[in-house]
């Protein structure tokens, strides 16, 4: 259910779709997805990548990992801009240790 909201970003959808290898898809705000270096390159308007044109990034990650990555990106988006980091929640507590290794590899790939 992509909402086609025209934003100043050249008429592109404000939301992007990220799909996992096991068939789940996640809708995230474009600026949240931009927190990852790799996704940013994929979605960059300068490039002619299929991902940029369709606004969909298929990633070779399991949904459970991908969900956590996107959760982190949202967390980063929330806290990176506002200056006070005193009330920072500890994201570490939200990562189940059993996916930590897989998450590390995903994080490494996505440059987040």
């Amino acid at each position: 259910m992509p909402r086609d909201v025209d934003m100043e970003g050249g008429g592109k959808s404000d939301w992007v779709r990220i799909t996992s290898v096991d068939g789940f898809s996640f809708m995230v705000l474009r600026k949240v997805a931009m927190g990852s270096g790799t996704l940013k390159n994929m979605l960059s308007s300068d490039s002619n990548f299929a991902e940029a044109l369709s606004g969909t990034c298929p990633l070779q990650e399991r949904a459970v990992v991908l969900e956590k990555v996107l959760e982190y990106l949202a967390y980063k988006n929330t806290y990176e801009e506002n200056g006070s980091k005193d009330d920072l929640e500890h994201f570490e507590k939200r990562v189940p240790p059993e996916i930590a290794l897989e998450l590390l590899m995903a994080a490494d790939y996505l440059e987040s």
Binding site: P97, L101, A107, D108, S112
Partner: protein, 590 residues
């Protein structure tokens, strides 16, 4: 104590002393006696054991005071004892008693000191009485309007609210005498100073942007916390592997069990940042599981021994760079066998190895002529005799001979630099406290052509003008990238100016910690003259102020770290910039 008998809460000791009849007045007098004795050296030491040293009454004021005092102090001898015999008998007893009191007094003083340690007194802290014991307040002042005899001129006078207690006590002074002593009778009693909160006393401010931790770093932390549940790390990449090794070291949680997670048959480079818990068999395992390793660095490898090293000799055949921190247990023979089996060694870097001696160096130089990196830091047996051997290593680029137990001599180092200086890029001769300017002017100046890193910490013989003339004449060498000359107290303006002039435009890292005499003006030029600077340490350079930091922040675009411990001229208004860590702002202005 006070006139109105209202007392605040007192400590158990005070209570005890009061019950024992030890009053503040007594203690004060005793102290006065101590001062009197110091003032008049001819007087036999008026310590408590000198009960028999009662002074002959010769009428001098000093003696009179002392006598009065002495009699006060030794309670029994208050009335000059009529018979010498009795006095003799008494004196011992008195001495004992006085001794006990002295002890109590000391105790009390000590207690008082603890309480009042924050008051800044101009008196010597160790002899000063605690505030409450001052005679000024303690002996009851006669009521205003009554008559009193002056303690000095013995004239009768009227007590007013401005009447001053005689110093030294006891008694009070008439107006004239009070004036003569120079004390201001109208001075208001000083308000009790507020005690500083210990946390506030030394407030150090660090400007440190907290970066949001990256997801990868968080994962690494989680993995490290659960490292013992991990069966294999899989393909997480060399950088992450190294990062995990680093985090494990930080927690000191690398053990024989989890260390193999970092091993791989394809590893060519392996770094364990804290190998404290690895035993000699674990080091053998390391060699067996990483047969292809070429560069090996082990920090805190205190338990490595000859057996492990000889195992390496057979298994780590492609090893060409070895860096060890703290291989204490390796014996001379162990080193020699290792060198013999590794003639291809290009890097040998060890720190703290007390058994490494001259014969080891001979063996190293003989077997491994291709060495480009050599570190023999904190080697107990290091001496000038090592240097001729090192001089025959023709390919040396990195040389670290820092912190030997006894310093190398300037002549020997100069000769070494003549031989190997031309290729050196990194030189560390820290804490060789005999090195003087000749090492720079005769050793480095004519021979060093490629040097980019110079580390000379704590070499107190270097002089300001010597270092200045070195940098002025150092035209043969391109600008240095990294200069660390901390704890050289004699260096200052001239050295800094010449240094910045020679190397400023390429300088990445500069440490002039403790150049305490450096003036404000040359410090302010750092920002302009060293635009590439990334790390700067100007700790304990007393003239560093907000403008020096401002110039650095504006002039050096890549600066990330500034250390300013002990720069008291900085204020809380010290400029700051996003992404730049400024550490150690310590100011009274906060």
């Amino acid at each position: 104590m006070s006139r109105n008998n209202v007392r605040g809460p007192t400590s158990a000791l005070t209570e005890f002393l009061r019950e024992s009849g030890i009053t503040t007045a007594l203690v004060t007098r005793r102290v006065r006696q101590g001062q009197g004795a110091r003032a008049d050296p001819q007087q036999p030491a008026a310590g408590p054991s000198n009960a028999d040293g009662e002074n002959a009454e010769d009428g001098s004021a000093q003696d009179a005071a002392n006598e009065e005092y002495n009699s006060d102090k030794l309670d029994e001898s208050e009335d000059e004892n009529p018979s010498a015999k009795k006095k003799c008998k008494l004196s011992k007893k008195a001495a004992e008693k006085a001794k006990a009191k002295e002890k109590a007094k000391l105790k009390k003083k000590k207690g008082g000191k603890d309480d009042d340690s924050d008051y800044e007194d101009d008196e010597d802290e160790y002899t000063a009485l605690s505030k409450s014991m001052y005679a000024k307040t303690s002996p009851a002042k006669p009521p205003v309007g009554s008559f009193e005899n002056c303690a000095k001129c013995e004239k009768k006078f009227t007590v007013t609210r401005y009447t001053v207690a005689a110093n030294p006590p006891p008694g009070f002074l008439c107006h004239d005498c009070a004036k003569a002593t120079g004390t201001d009778p109208f001075k208001k009693p000083a308000l009790p100073r507020k005690r500083k909160n210990p946390q506030d006393k030394r407030k150090v401010v660090n400007f440190d942007d907290k970066e949001l931790p990256s997801l990868a770093s968080m994962c690494i932390k989680i993995i490290s916390n659960h490292i013992n549940d991990v069966e294999a790390l899989g393909n997480i990449g060399q950088v992450n592997l190294d990062e995990i090794s680093r985090v494990l070291a930080r927690n000191r949680s690398m053990t024989c069990e989890n260390a193999p997670l970092l091993y791989d048959i394809q590893n060519t480079k392996l770094t364990l940042y804290d190998a404290t818990k690895l035993t000699p068999p674990a080091f053998c395992t390391l060699a067996s599981l990483n047969p292809g390793v070429e560069s090996l660095r082990l920090d805190y490898c205190g338990r490595i021994n000859d057996s492990a090293l000889s195992h390496w000799s057979g298994h780590l055949t492609s090893l060409n760079r070895l860096e060890l921190l703290g291989p204490f247990l390796i014996r001379i023979e162990g080193w020699k066998t290792f060198f013999q089996s590794h003639p291809q060694l290009t890097g040998f870097l060890i720190t703290q190895s007390p058994r490494f001696d001259l014969s080891c160096v001979e063996s190293l130089v003989e077997n491994c002529p291709n060495l480009t990196e050599l570190r023999l830091a904190q080697i107990g047996k290091m001496s000038d005799e090592f240097l001729p051997h090192i001089a025959s290593l023709q390919h040396l680029e990195y040389l670290d001979l820092s912190e030997p137990s006894s310093s190398l001599s300037s002549e020997a180092v100069t000769r070494l630099l003549e031989a190997v200086g031309s290729k050196l890029t990194h030189l560390n001769l820290s804490s060789n406290d005999l090195l003087d300017d000749t090492v720079l002017t005769e050793g480095l100046l004519p021979h060093a052509k490629k040097l980019s890193t110079l580390i000379l910490k704590n070499t107190p013989e270097l002089t300001d003008s010597g270092v200045a003339s070195f940098f002025k004449g150092f035209r043969s060498n391109p600008p240095l990238h990294h200069i660390c000359m901390e704890r050289n107290h004699n260096l200052g303006d001239k050295a800094l100016k010449a240094l910045l002039h020679h190397s400023g435009k390429e300088l990445r890292e500069l440490n002039i910690n403790s150049w305490k005499e450096t003036g404000n003006e040359p410090l302010t030029t750092i920002g302009n003259l060293a635009p590439q600077l990334r790390t700067l340490d100007v700790g304990w350079c007393r003239q560093v102020d907000d403008f020096v930091v401002k110039a650095v922040l504006e002039g050096c675009q890549n600066i990330t770290n500034i250390s300013v411990y002990g720069c008291n001229k900085l204020t809380i208004n010290c400029p700051r910039k996003h992404g730049v860590k400024i550490r150690g702002i310590e100011t009274n202005a906060i």
